[in-house]
């Protein structure tokens, strides 16, 4: 019974992390970059939003400011990677570390900023899960429509090809470096937007908010795509699947808590989920493949090919 009481909250929080996972999808699946900036940029989004609302800023302005801050963090990672030749995974780690200091500064040296939901008119809050779910559903629909429109434009197609085949992209005159910067900007903008909504939902922004966000995002992607790719392998269905993955993740998460797992072990659980999803295709291929002998290629004249 307790599980069903926890369900609306799990769905609401799952939607927020599902939105974040859309951002991770852009970097990880579209650009083929494992971007660790997100652990920092989701927190930046939360901090910017919480502090601005605390300072009396209109909520919508605070959310847009968080979005812009997130885009900036992605652009920084992108430039570290493309303009300075730092491997993408390291560029993300460097930005993430920088952001820890930045986020502390935004919070004014404290580790927490609270937003009082009774004093401010927030977009969503955990005190009302039903409207939180509606707000998140509308936001996610808007984000998916924007991405769908953008990724099928002349420019958007080249962003896809940049991750899919950089050699082909360059040969077709695509500025691969610029596309990576743009893509990482979009990705982290969405992640920070999710951070801003998360801060409102929880009523606070914490310096440790983003820790392990990339892993949760990847878990949502793997869970979601394992279903959605079977339905229809296209961009929009994949994005919806990713959001669904976020919801499933949080329902399982709540279920596991109710089973009595110590919350200390939740990060371990997230990491294990992702490790399993990454390992299964590899193991399938490596150990469980039906190892048939490949017959020699025979030419039409009956001779064996030597090349």
């Amino acid at each position: 019974m307790a599980f069903f009481y926890a369900l609306p909250g799990a769905v609401a929080e799952g939607l927020i992390w599902g939105l974040m996972a859309i951002g991770v999808y852009i970097s990880y699946k579209v650009l083929d970059i494992a971007d660790l900036t997100v652990d920092g940029s989701i927190c930046t989004g939360a901090c910017v939003c919480a502090v601005l609302i605390g300072a009396g800023c209109p909520v919508i302005v605070a959310v847009l400011a968080a979005l812009l801050a997130g885009i900036l963090t992605g652009v920084i990672t992108g430039l570290l990677h493309t303009a300075f030749g730092i491997p993408s995974i390291l560029a993300g780690i460097l930005t993430q570390l920088m952001l820890y200091s930045v986020n502390l500064t935004i919070l004014g040296g404290k580790s927490l900023a609270t937003i009082d939901p009774r004093m401010n008119k927030l977009l969503l809050n955990m005190s009302d899960n039903t409207s939180a779910i509606i707000v998140m559903a509308v936001t996610i629909a808007a984000v998916i429509i924007c991405l769908w429109l953008f990724f099928y434009t002349e420019v958007g197609l080249t962003l896809k090809s940049t991750g899919d085949n950089p050699d082909m992209s360059r040969a077709q005159g695509v500025n691969v470096s610029r596309n990576k910067v743009v893509g990482l900007g979009i990705s982290n903008g969405i992640v920070a937007l999710a951070g801003a909504l998360l801060a409102q939902y929880k009523g606070s922004a914490n310096i440790n908010d983003g820790r392990g966000a990339i892993v949760i995002g990847l878990a949502a992607i793997f869970i979601g795509l394992s279903v959605s790719l079977k339905i229809k392998p296209n961009f929009v269905v994949s994005l919806i699947g990713v959001v669904g993955g976020g919801i499933i993740y949080y329902i399982v998460y709540n279920f596991v808590i109710l089973l009595g797992l110590k919350t200390d072990f939740l990060k371990m659980l997230s990491a294990i989920i992702v490790a399993i999803f990454l390992a299964v295709p590899y193991l399938k291929n490596e150990y469980f493949k039906n190892k048939k002998l490949i017959p020699p290629i025979v030419n039409e004249d009956g001779g064996e090919e030597d090349a």
């Binding site: 420019v155 899919d164 085949n165 360059r170 040969a171 077709q172 695509v174």
Partner: protein
């Protein structure tokens, strides 16, 4: 017109693995030249093509295309002038994207890409026509992901993409080497058709002497980073493989060695 002046490139300079791939190479291509390039292992054929397409910068020398110095131009910028087909059929197309989307990206090579719909209905009609000219039955598979196609089909599409916007120079880097003989012959026929129909200036590396003689109006042989044989016109039409090997030996002073060249008659 392509003009290459004193082009030099050494890989891993100053190390035990130092390899001089181009030694002051000079080459001029006139408009409409269809040049086949042949040479032994490590002769510098692919290095030459990579230098022209800007994969890296040469150590010394100059590359000019229609009077424009492109020696230091970034790869994606000079793509405006160049059509390229690679040896590896996986390299020329985006596997996770539809045939139509691949063609749409190619149709904007060298042009400004805008926030307009990438594949319009009128585009699909045009692509369908182009694909039917390949005679591979791809015209009804515009929405198929390219990754599901065979190597030959992918090379044919790459060829189409390379020439969709007429390039000033078409670079073919052993583009049939990874295909089975039958498919290779078909892709070569297609290449010849596209090149002659559009009167494209073309540089085609091949490992097949027979093809090198059969196609194009000019043949060059490379050896140790230089052009050692350059035959054109009528003289090339009458060339035989034996003559070609003799020419190579007399001009380079060594026997022709390659583990790939096929001495088919």
């Amino acid at each position: 017109m392509l003009e290459i002046i004193n082009l030099q490139k050494t890989f891993n300079p100053g190390t035990v693995n130092a390899k001089t791939a181009l030694r002051g190479l000079n080459l001029t291509l006139d408009d409409g030249d269809f040049v086949t390039v042949i040479g032994g292992n490590g002769a510098g054929k692919s290095t030459l093509l990579n230098a022209i397409s800007g994969v890296w910068k040469p150590d010394y020398g100059r590359i000019e295309l229609d009077g424009v110095d492109i020696t230091g131009m970034p790869e994606h910028k000079r793509a405006k002038f160049l059509g390229r087909v690679f040896q590896d059929p996986m390299k020329g197309t985006a596997p996770d994207m539809e045939i139509a989307e691949n063609l749409a990206i190619a149709s904007k090579r060298g042009l400004k890409r805008r926030l307009r719909w990438g594949v319009k209905i009128s585009d699909r009609r045009q692509y369908k026509e182009l694909l039917s000219s390949l005679e591979l039955g791809l015209e009804d598979r515009l929405s198929t992901k390219v990754g599901l196609l065979s190597g030959g089909q992918r090379q044919a599409i790459t060829l189409l993409m390379a020439t969709l916007n007429r390039p000033k120079l078409l670079l073919l880097d052993e583009h049939t080497a990874a295909l089975d003989p039958k498919t290779a012959a078909k892709v070569l026929e297609l290449t010849d058709k596209i090149v002659s129909e559009n009167n494209l200036t073309t540089l085609m590396i091949t490992h097949n002497m027979h093809d090198a003689i059969k196609y194009g109006n000019r043949l060059i042989m490379m050896h140790e980073g230089n052009v050692v044989v350059d035959i054109r016109g009528e003289e090339k039409q009458k060339l035989t493989i034996e003559q070609l090997l003799q020419l190579f030996e007399s001009s380079s002073g060594s026997k022709f060695t390659s583990d790939k060249v096929i001495l088919s008659k």
